[in-house]
């Protein structure tokens, strides 16, 4: 492979036309993803992380949606590509795992057949070859007695097993990039750990890149090499995972980290909650979207949106007029 990144996103924006006016769900997002790398995209509900994932796939509807900017996937442009062109990319270049395995599987079709479908339609395998490969894939994703489970319906499987089937379908085309949108939300912690371990093992084994989209900082802490923290459609901070956790500069990143309860906290530890709630994107002001909830916000923050700026650490960028100096800095200290 050449030295150009597998995925290159430049100034990507997705705007929905709503009765209340244009709603920019993804606002000027740029990043690169190298081969074999795992990128975590973290944000709360409404941060635009799911719309971003769908835009990367070219999955958003065409009506009332405007996509600008560029998504280069292994040298192919996704933005503005025809459906026929996208179909060539789907499965062989990029595949997606969605949050809810019950609704992403066809409830009246045996799971094996749902994997077969990809192999036969997209890869021209015959029935027997597809069946053999489907059982291999079920085995690969850790489904016990794969040959029997091939004939199971989705409702006969547990949530964790269904998510494994969805992953098997995604892997059928041997994609170079796997986009996983909240792949473990709604699963028990024990199953969550199993699925994340599986994704990581498969990534290494099959040489894929992974984009992991989640609201849960625990999911990305140890399983990603880089992070993109999103707030209200924009990138708040991005960098190597360890740097974002330990040396974050954007107050939102700190607030997100500090409001998560930790196992190491003593009982009745008071959490640093972020006041208020994420903004309605149809009614946001011109400035930094986090300003109304930020204890460091000034008039400048409310009037002018900050651009992403580099830190002294390589590849670590943040968008803030009043960046934190160190993660431990107290809110009042810099103002």
């Amino acid at each position: 492979m050449s030295d150009q990144p597998l995925l290159s996103v430049r100034h990507l924006s997705t705007t929905f036309a709503t009765p209340a006016g244009p709603l920019r769900a993804v606002d000027d997002v740029s990043f690169d993803l190298d081969a074999h790398e795992t990128l975590g995209i973290v944000g709360e509900s409404g941060s635009g992380k799911t719309v971003l994932a769908r835009t990367l796939m070219g999955l958003q509807p065409r009506l009332n949606v405007e996509v600008t900017g560029s998504v280069q996937l292994a040298g192919h442009e996704v933005v503005g590509a025809s459906t026929a062109r996208l179909r060539e990319l789907w499965s062989s270049e990029v595949a997606m795992v969605f949050q809810d395995p019950m609704t992403s599987l066809n409830p009246v079709m045996r799971v094996g057949r749902q994997i077969d479908e990809v192999l036969r339609v997209r890869h021209g395998m015959d029935r027997a070859a597809a069946r053999a490969r489907a059982i291999e894939l079920l085995d690969l994703v850790g489904i016990p007695s794969a040959a029997q489970r091939y004939r199971a319906y989705p409702f006969e499987l547990s949530g964790g097993m269904r998510q494994r089937v969805v992953i098997a379908i995604a892997l059928a085309g041997q994609p170079r990039l796997l986009i996983a949108d909240e792949p473990t939300t709604g699963l028990d912690v024990t199953i969550q750990a199993q699925i994340l371990d599986l994704l990581d093992t498969l990534r290494a084994q099959l040489g894929m890149s992974v984009v992991m989209i989640t609201h849960d900082l625990g999911v990305v802490a140890t399983r990603t090499s880089r992070l993109l923290v999103m707030y209200a459609g924009r990138v708040a901070e991005t960098g190597p995972t360890g740097d974002v956790f330990r040396h974050h500069r954007m107050p939102y990143t700190r607030a997100l980290l500090e409001s998560s309860p930790k196992l190491s906290n003593a009982p009745h530890t008071r959490l640093a909650a972020i006041p208020g709630q994420p903004p309605n994107l149809a009614r946001v002001g011109p400035g930094c979207h986090f300003a109304p909830r930020c204890d460091l916000a000034s008039d400048r923050c409310r009037e002018v949106a900050p651009a992403l700026e580099p830190t002294e650490r390589p590849d670590h960028l943040f968008a803030c007029w009043h960046p934190l100096r160190t993660p431990s800095e107290t809110p009042g200290a810099s103002s």
């Binding site: 912690v189 024990t190 609201h215 330990r246 980290l257 196992l263």
Partner: protein
């Protein structure tokens, strides 16, 4: 914890069964515990472990098959009619989905006033004043928002409204069933802090049911760990996390994902999934997933016993504190 000797809630041998296609599903199986006045008891376990059903059985939303639930010495399981309703005012429950637990066609001030209206405990100006106070206490401006409908609020705000409603009758016991699991972390922290504040203010006793181990540890004094309908371990929160005695607790903690990049990656993750409660394993229910299981575990169900004062575990081979 308080110095009161008699517990506020005493649960003895509580079992709940449901008929299931001609079989019997035992959702809660002989659960016993006590909760002191002013204490927060956390209840954790995987989905299907019976934690929510247990919470509902305490309220008699579902009927227990056997066992007793005593609130300040009064056995709820034998009460009927008016006596049951009178006692039930003293305990309230809040549920996971805040939006669907509020009537979409009523204004929030009226939703919060519902218990007052049902009990005719306040009317006119007093009713209004009570509602205003309750809304203000949960952080909602009554003048600005009181006449709005639930759909005009976010999930976190709806959960605040549910809490205000639950507090209207000044309950002694509040049962919280996954009350923050549908909320974003920033909002989740707000609600957890609010519950702690209100607990202190109202002198509440809390049963906090959740699947998220970090959330439960942050709010609880003691924690009960459930597996397939049974409490496998019950201990003070810090002890449970520092020195889990049941292999299930240890593995559950090992599976938890921490928002910490320095967390060791090589952890022992619990493999497999819980067996069906319709056909639980013989002996110890956890033995099919337990790394320490022996023949004894298949033959005999371990009886709960104390490994330290206030630390109860149901295991033939409890793990000892590494010291």
């Amino acid at each position: 914890m308080t110095e009161t000797t008699s517990p506020l809630l005493r649960v003895r041998d509580l079992s709940v069964t449901f008929p299931h296609h001609g079989h019997t599903l035992t959702a809660v199986d002989g659960v016993s515990f006590e909760v002191s006045r002013g204490e927060t008891l956390g209840v954790v376990g995987e989905s299907g472990c019976g934690k929510s059903t247990m919470g509902r059985a305490l309220m008699r939303i579902v009927e227990a098959r056997t066992g007793s639930v005593e609130l300040a010495g009064v056995d709820l399981t034998t009460l009927r009619g008016r006596a049951l309703r009178e006692t039930r005012r003293r305990m309230q429950m809040i549920f996971q989905d805040p939006i669907s637990s509020l009537n979409p066609r009523r204004r929030i001030a009226d939703i919060v006033a519902e218990p007052l209206d049902a009990w005719k405990s306040a009317a006119g100006a007093e009713r209004e004043a009570t509602v205003e106070r309750l809304l203000r206490e949960v952080g909602i401006d009554p003048a600005l928002h009181g006449r709005r409908y639930p759909r005009q609020f976010s999930g976190g705000q709806c959960q605040r409204i549910s809490i205000a409603r639950a507090l209207a009758m000044r309950p002694e016991l509040l049962i919280c069933d996954e009350v923050v699991s549908a909320l974003d972390v920033s909002v989740q922290a707000q609600i957890l802090n609010l519950l702690e504040d209100l607990k202190a203010e109202y002198g509440l006793t809390l049963i906090f049911i959740a699947h998220d181990l970090a959330v439960v540890k942050n709010i609880s004094d003691r924690i009960a760990v459930m597996y397939l309908g049974q409490i496998v371990e019950l201990a003070p929160a810090q002890v449970l996390y520092d020195a889990p005695a049941h292999p299930y607790t240890a593995l559950l903690l090992g599976s938890a994902l921490e928002a910490d990049p320095d967390q060791p990656r090589e952890r022992t993750v619990l493999q497999g999934e819980p067996p069906s409660p319709l056909d639980p394993p013989s002996g110890c229910r956890f033995r099919t997933r337990c790394p320490d299981a022996t023949d004894l575990c298949a033959r005999e169900a371990p009886m709960p016993r104390d490994v330290a004062p206030g630390h109860r575990v149901a295991c033939h081979f409890p793990r000892r504190r590494a010291d």
